[in-house]
């Protein structure tokens, strides 16, 4: 019943292309001319120390911040792909309504009750459909946020540390759904600090340091032969300033 929609891609075109992406907020340059050509489908993991600009990068990809530069998904502009995107935030925002009503609010035209029920079952919240959403535990709230995002049938899924400080059960449920979506062709861009999770999910890794991309490589390479000094230090658990 959970039926993710693949992002139509062309082998010659990057799935995600970022050119000269700059973000200035309050006179501070927080993203400094990012360049990225990501040809990998599946899960692209964005890593970096706190304050590196990961969340800002993700929000810029979603059009939530007034970043300069160009962003393209499979050859189409951010504007053209905006309706195909969904984002899950680190701190889920849930309406002051029941679990089911939160789903209904995000439901696209044509979404059926059966789809909502199926997604709620996938995230183990079907029994709690009539409960106030903000009474759920942190893990349940995040699972609901993911289910709500998936209900919009995104072709591009942006996830900002959705499993930070969640219990292993919730992490497992969320990772399974992300993997399912990625396997179906949804482009997933995922911010995480969790190296174990990155190894389990990522096909490629973008490493950010002080608002710049210092490395973009396959997950295999990143964890075994990181090239940039910053990525090496990060993986070695050293303090990055």
């Amino acid at each position: 019943m959970f039926n993710p929609q693949p992002l139509a891609t062309n082998l010659n075109e990057p799935v995600l292309a970022v050119r000269s992406l700059r973000l200035l907020l309050n006179g501070q340059e927080l993203l400094r001319g990012l360049e990225l050509n990501c040809y990998e489908s599946g899960v692209t993991l964005v890593m970096g120390a706190n304050g590196a600009g990961k969340s800002l990068f993700l929000r810029s990809l979603h059009g939530l911040l007034p970043a300069e530069g160009e962003i393209e998904f499979a050859g189409r502009s951010l504007q053209q792909t905006r309706s195909e995107q969904a984002m899950v935030f680190q701190k889920p925002t849930l309406l002051r309504r029941t679990v089911e009503q939160n789903m209904l609010f995000a439901a696209p035209e044509g979404a059926t009750a059966a789809q909502i029920e199926a997604l709620l079952s996938e995230v183990h919240l079907y029994e709690k459909a009539k409960q106030p959403a903000r009474r759920l535990s942190g893990g349940e709230q995040q699972r609901l946020a993911l289910a709500r995002a998936l209900l919009t049938q995104p072709k591009i899924l942006l996830l900002d540390e959705p499993t930070a400080s969640l219990d292993p059960g919730s992490v497992l449920i969320i990772e399974r759904l992300i993997q399912q979506a990625a396997d179906a062709g949804v482009k997933v861009i995922f911010v995480s600090h969790d190296i174990g999770q990155a190894k389990r999910l990522a096909s490629d890794v973008v490493f950010l340091h002080q608002g710049k991309i210092t490395e973009h490589t396959s997950a295999q390479n990143f964890f075994h032969q990181p090239v940039s000094r910053e990525a090496q230090a990060y993986l070695a658990g050293e303090l990055l300033i």
């Binding site: 979603h62 059009g63 939530l64 905006r82 309706s83 969904a86 984002m87 935030f89 925002t93 309406l95 002051r96 309504r97 609010f105 995000a106 106030p132 959403a133 903000r134 009474r135 919009t152």
Partner: protein, 233 residues
Amino acid sequence: MLIDSFFEAMTLIGSADPDLYEIMLLSIEVSLTALTVSVLLALPLGTLLAISQFPGKRIVITCLNSLMAMPPVVIGLLVYLMLSRSGPLGVLGLLYTPTAMVIAQILLITPIIASLAHQTMEDLHLEYSELFQSLRVTKIRAVPVYLWDARYSLVTAVLAGFGRAVSEVGAVIIVGGNIDHLTRVMTTAIALETAKGELAMALALGMILVAMALLVNAAVMFVRTFAQRNAYV
């Protein structure tokens, strides 16, 4: 004397004294009418101020908040000047009618409800705005969502407005004139009866007013408790 007046007041209430109930019903009618109009004006105004950006927005909010502290007698005076025979709306002949009292109460409570609604909506907007941008929810579609999701806090604001309206005396005595069987409401009647030394009537009306205030506060408390229990605020 006080005890006698108290028992006499209880008798007036218990015997459903026609004068007493006429005054009480007019009070409720005037305040509920003013409240209805105020809610229709104040809730959209508070919401729009919370979710829209325009030059001078801070000034408008400051003015709105300042209007909350406007002395009722000044509002009464302004309405009087507008409605008096030589005033711009004098031709309507509304002075010393319940309509004039309604207008005064609208001017008195609209800023209160709008200001409280604005604070509630601003907090909610801060919380929801990123989600709404993400889901591409337009401002037009967002307004009813804000109003619905803030309903429990807004009910509190509305009840506060009703409490303020029904207990108001300064403005309504100026524009209503405290005319028997026409514009005499509980607060103006209490002032008059006390001045006449008719403490029983004044006490009876005072007790009804206090009971109404308690009822409104109990309703506010009930709504808040229910909403908090369900994480709806």
